[in-house]
Symmetry: C2
Subunit: 253 residues, 2 copies
DNA sequence: GAGTGGTCTAGACCACCCC
DNA sequence: GGGTGGTCTAGACCACTCT
C-alpha cells in the first residue's frame, strides 16, 4: 500500500508547499512528546510497534524516525529492552560536551568547586545569545573545574532563570555532579546540542587568581551556547581554560 | 527469504566469532574499491541496483551501506543522478576541515601564501603520529593563510612523502587552492577524517614574524592528524592561529 | 516463551534528472 | 520515457532481555 493512513499532522502538511517525509513528521511528533515531558529522561518510550499503531504508520517508518533521534543522542536504543530517553546522569555521559582531555587523549573526570551564584538582568549581548528579552532574569554560576588536583577551567555559566527557578548554591553543591545532570533530574531539561566558539586569550586578574597562573598567561576562551529539545537555547557559558598538559580535542568529519 | 545469497566475504565472516551485519560487509567492500581507486573522487559509483546484483544482496541492504558512507561524507548522493565519490575540489568543500570563521560566524575563504617546502627524515614524534618508521621521508610545507588581507594562520604541514612523491613548491603555488584539493586531484588521495588537539600558546619569534604580532601574543595552536580511506594517517600539521576578530567554531552533539 | 530492537528482503510508488 | 535515488510498506527471521 502506498498511501498509508496519515498521521495527525499530515493534512496540514499536505497543504503547505514544502514536502516533508513521513518519518520527519514522526520525528517531530516524538520530539513534541519529549518537550511536553510525556516521556522523561531515563524513561522508556513505547515500543516501535506501539508507536507505529499510535501514529498510523508502519514500523519501518517509526524505526527511521527513531534512528535519526538516536543518532543525535536524543534517544538511546537497547536491544531486547526498549528505547529510552537519553540522559546525562550516567557516569560516562556526565561530561558529554567536555572536550578537554589530558595530552595523551585520556579522559579525566574533573571535580567542581563552586564560587558563587547570582541573579542578574540580561543585557543585550546575553539576551541575543539566549533568545530572551533584555532585562530577563538570568542565573549566573561561577565555578572552577579541577583536573587531577589542578584548577584548569574557570567557568561563568548563564542560565535562563524562568527555565530553572529556585536554583541555589546549596543545591548545586549538594548535587556533586555536572550541572547538566542536576538540571536534567531537577527540571527535566536536557541539553541536546551545543555550539562553541574558541579563542586564545591572555589571563586577566580574576582568571589568574582562580587558575593559579600569572596575569597574561595564554588561556583558551571557550564560549558555549547549549540547546534543549526543539533547539531552544537555555545556557550560555564562557570557560577560561589552561592548556598546560591538557588539550581541547575535536573530531572533524 | 531470510538467507540471501552471500557476498564474497561471507564464508570467511561466518567462521569468525564476531557477527557482522551484511551492510557492514558491503560497506567494507565499497571502501575497498575506493582504496584501490576503482572509483575515483568525483566519479559516480554504480547504481544501487547494480551494486545489489554485484554483491548478491537486496537493494535495501546496499542502501543502508551507502547511507552510512554518505553520512561520513565519503560518498555523496544526488537524487535522479547517482551516487558519487566525495571530493574536496568543489568550492564549498575546499576548506571542509577549517573551523576558523569570523566572530559573527561568517565563513571567510582564505588565500594562501607558501613559504617553503623541504623533505626531512621523520623523528620519533612525527613517525608515531603518521604511523611510519623513524627516518621515513616526510615533506614539510610551510604557509600562511590570509583572511581578508590579514595573515591569520601559520601552518606547518607534514606529509608522508611515499604517498605524495614529486611534490614541489611550484606545483603547490600553481594549484591556487587548498592543499587537500591538490592532493586529491593529483594523487587520488582524499582526506576523509581528522583529529585536532587545540592549545593556547604564546607566539614565538617565527610565528610573530609571519602573523605580524608581538612575541608572546596569545595564539591557538591547532594540531591535526588527517586520515584517508581505511583510516590511514597521511598528514600531520600544526597551525598557529590569531583569534583577533576570528574564532574556532565547533558543534557538539 | 513473549517482547524488544536489529537485519534483510521484496515490491510499490514518488521526486528528480536527462535524453 | 527510462534511470536514479528517496520513501513507505509488509513480513520474515535473528539476537538479546526478562520472567
Amino acid at each position: 500500500m502506498q498511501t498509508p493512513s496519515l498521521p495527525i499532522s499530515a493534512i496540514a502538511e499536505s497543504a503547505t508547499a514544502s514536502f516533508q517525509p513521513l518519518y520527519e513528521q514522526i520525528k517531530s511528533l516524538i520530539t513534541r512528546s519529549l518537550v511536553s515531558q510525556e516521556w522523561k529522561p531515563g524513561e522508556a518510550i513505547p515500543s516501535e510497534m506501539d508507536l507505529a499503531k499510535r501514529y498510523g504508520v508502519s514500523q519501518g517508518t517509526v524505526r527511521k524516525a527513531v534512528d535519526a533521534l538516536a543518532n543525535e543522542y536524543i534517544l538511546v536504543r537497547h536491544q531486547g529492552k526498549g528505547t529510552f530517553v537519553a540522559t546525562h546522569t550516567a557516569p560516562s555521559q556526565q561530561y558529554r560536551f567536555l572536550r578537554v582531555r589530558d595530552d595523551s587523549g585520556e579522559v579525566v573526570h574533573p571535580t567542581t568547586s563552586f564560587i558563587g551564584l547570582e541573579k542578574v538582568k540580561a543585557d543585550a549581548g546575553i539576551a541575543a545569545k539566549l533568545g530572551v528579552r533584555v532585562g530577563t532574569t538570568i542565573a549566573t554560576v561561577q565555578r572552577v573545574l579541577i583536573f587531577a588536583e589542578r584548577p584548569l577551567i574557570f567557568d561563568q555559566i548563564h542560565l535562563v532563570n524562568a527555565e530553572f527557578g529556585g536554583l541555589t548554591m546549596a543545591a548545586l553543591e549538594a548535587s556533586r555532579g555536572s550541572i547538566y545532570s542536576y538540571l536534567e533530574t531537577t527540571y527535566g531539561t536536557r541539553m541536546i546540542r551545543a555550539e562553541e566558539k574558541i579563542k586564545s586569550v591572555a589571563a586577566d586578574k580574576v582568571a589568574a587568581k582562580y587558575l593559579n597562573v600569572r596575569v597574561g598567561a595564554p588561556l583558551l576562551s571557550i564560549d558555549r551556547v547549549a540547546y534543549t529539545y526543539g533547539d531552544k537555547p537555555v545556557e550560555w557559558r564562557r570557560g577560561l581554560c589552561l592548556t598546560d598538559g591538557y588539550s581541547y580535542f575535536n573530531e572533524l568529519a
